[in-house]
């Protein structure tokens, strides 16, 4: 993916740039809002990472101008303001996702992946199928190897999130946001327990573990 990274803090910018580079992304870095706007308007990028507080032009203003200019590239807003009230500010301004600084790099990487996927035509998906698991989103049915798996509603939603991001890590906080609508981590074990239920049900009958877990990062559905 081509990623525009607008961040005025040198340490953070270099670190993120290197990390995303190692993951195989092509990063264009900007150190202020003016540059970020210029790059966003002239270059073709898949995802934009915008720091909210920048010299010259702050992230929110850049975002507003982009949207006003008809540019719909997904934007992930970085904010140092981790206050409760600020939670939805960035989202209301038109950002597609946001992350509070300081963040774990794996969290950023997972969210970028998810955002990049969104640019793909957003056809209404009703069926998902990966590695022998089939989901019918309308009938709310799950089959693995043709055999029906009975899931509770939340387990179904968890699996759907994983299936929609097949091959990518989905983090705990992303799952909390999307399945439970919690925008900060209440430090609960509900993800872990639901995931373990889901896994047990999917793996019933001694099949290969369908869900890969990386501690401190997240979950991923196996493609095979």
């Amino acid at each position: 993916m081509r990623i525009l990274l607008a961040e005025d803090d040198n340490d953070t910018r270099n670190f993120v740039e290197r990390g995303l580079g190692e993951l195989g992304h092509n990063v264009i870095a900007a150190a202020n809002g003016e540059d970020a706007l210029h790059h966003a308007l002239t270059e073709d990028v898949d995802v934009i990472i915008l720091d909210r507080m920048m010299p010259m032009l702050d992230g929110l203003s850049v975002l507003k101008r982009l949207r006003a200019g008809g540019i719909t590239v997904p934007v992930l807003m970085l904010t140092a303001l981790g206050r409760i009230e600020d939670r939805v500010d960035g989202l209301e301004a038109g950002a597609d996702d946001y992350l509070v600084k300081p963040f774990a790099f794996s969290e950023l990487a997972a969210r970028i992946q998810a955002l990049g996927r969104r640019t793909a035509p957003a056809a209404v998906t009703t069926r998902l199928a990966i590695g022998g698991i089939e989901m019918d989103l309308l009938a709310r049915e799950v089959r693995r190897g043709g055999k029906k798996v009975n899931l509770q509603p939340r387990e179904f939603r968890l699996l759907e999130e994983l299936m929609r991001h097949a091959g990518e890590f989905v983090t705990r906080t992303m799952l909390l946001e999307r399945v439970w609508d919690f925008h900060f981590d209440p430090q609960t074990k509900i993800i872990e327990t639901h995931m373990s239920r889901l896994r047990t049900k999917l793996n019933e009958g001694g099949q290969l573990d369908a869900i890969e877990t990386v501690r401190g990062v997240g979950y991923r559905i196996r493609a095979t």
């Binding site: 190692e22 409760i84 009230e85 790099f105 919690f182 209440p186 501690r215 401190g216």
Partner: protein, 449 residues
Amino acid sequence: MRVLPRSAANRIAWVALLAYAAAMLVLGVAVFFATHAAFSRQMDASIEQTTNALQGEYRDDGIRGVAEAINQLHGPGPISLGTALFAPDGRRIAGNLNTSMPAPGWQRIVFVDPLEGPDPARAQVTPLAGGYRLVVAADLESLEAIDRTILVMFGAAFAALLLLGIVGVLLLAAYLRRRLGGIEATAAAIIAGDLRQRASLGASDDEFDRVAASLNAMLDRIAALIANLRQVTGDLAHDLRTPLSRLRNHLETLRMSHGYAANPLPVDEAVEQADDLLALFEAILRISELEEGGLRSSFKQVDLSRLVSELGEAHMPLAEDMQRTLVVSVEPQLTVQGDRELIAQAAINLIENALRHTQPGASVELKALACDDKIVIRIQDNGPGIPAAEQERVQERFVRLESSRSTPGHGLGLSLVRAIAEAHGGRLVLGDAEPGLVAELRFPQRGPM
């Protein structure tokens, strides 16, 4: 205003009134006796004077002279003193005192008043040569009348004093209570947790106003210190997050190294520990932010019935894994004004506390209900509970009971719950479920809007 059952103001005023009344009583008694004695002396002097004059007549003209003088004395005109001259045989030969012959010296006699009948009188009886006796007496009735007048006047004055004094005491006590009541109400509000309350100042700059001003200055100072402490804690947590995140990110890059695949555990554990620390700082920041207040502007109507049902459902698998029974009962259509996620956070902390601090086989009840004018989320377990004496303390930051040292956590859970409850104008109430702990999040119920 509430009438205080024990009031120093009342006590002081009553003591002052009693002391004043006692002094008044002593003064009254003294005046009475002094006046009585003075009048008695005056009466005696007047009797002696008349006796001397009549004795003079006797020396000059003998018995006849005395009798004539007596008769002249009782001519027309006011009679101030009674006199009598007795012959040696006890017969009254002159004078108007209708009495029998008394013994010589100062005597209390009874004579017969022509109008009023027998009357007591004070008399000086002087023996004359040849067995005659001269009696000069004054009616005691006038002295008694004076005594009575003094007593009546004094009694009336004393009653008026008591009446005015009692009214004064009540007024003074009410005034003192009113002045002190303002200060007390402020202190009570502060104790209840509203540090922004201040005592109101009057215009008179009297001692009450000065005490109130000192109290306010003290409260300002305390508030500044608390704000400072909060600021430092918050800043510390805030500033430590960045280097800690960097550390965590470096640990994650280790996962790409060769050594990781061979021995992933130490790196994974280090990442988890970093996450724990970040979560701790997050909780500290969250509490500071909640305690600062000012969140209300972002509050919305929260469907509490739905939220609690969801949380109950979300925790079923966890409870099952831990071999606890989770029973959920929710009254329909409960709403509160607030922040859905914060309320969820508070309820989750309480639910997980209940699951964590009980033994396998325990049952945990999660309820949402309307109770009086409150909307309540109640989490009750049948575990070991928290001793009554500790129930307040466990809500402080970083306080962990000895009995829970072995379970994970950093002692911020309940303080976060309390901060969330208070940010919603509600309260966290812990109680004894006999056995077990009952924790209630009480939110104010909003009237129809």
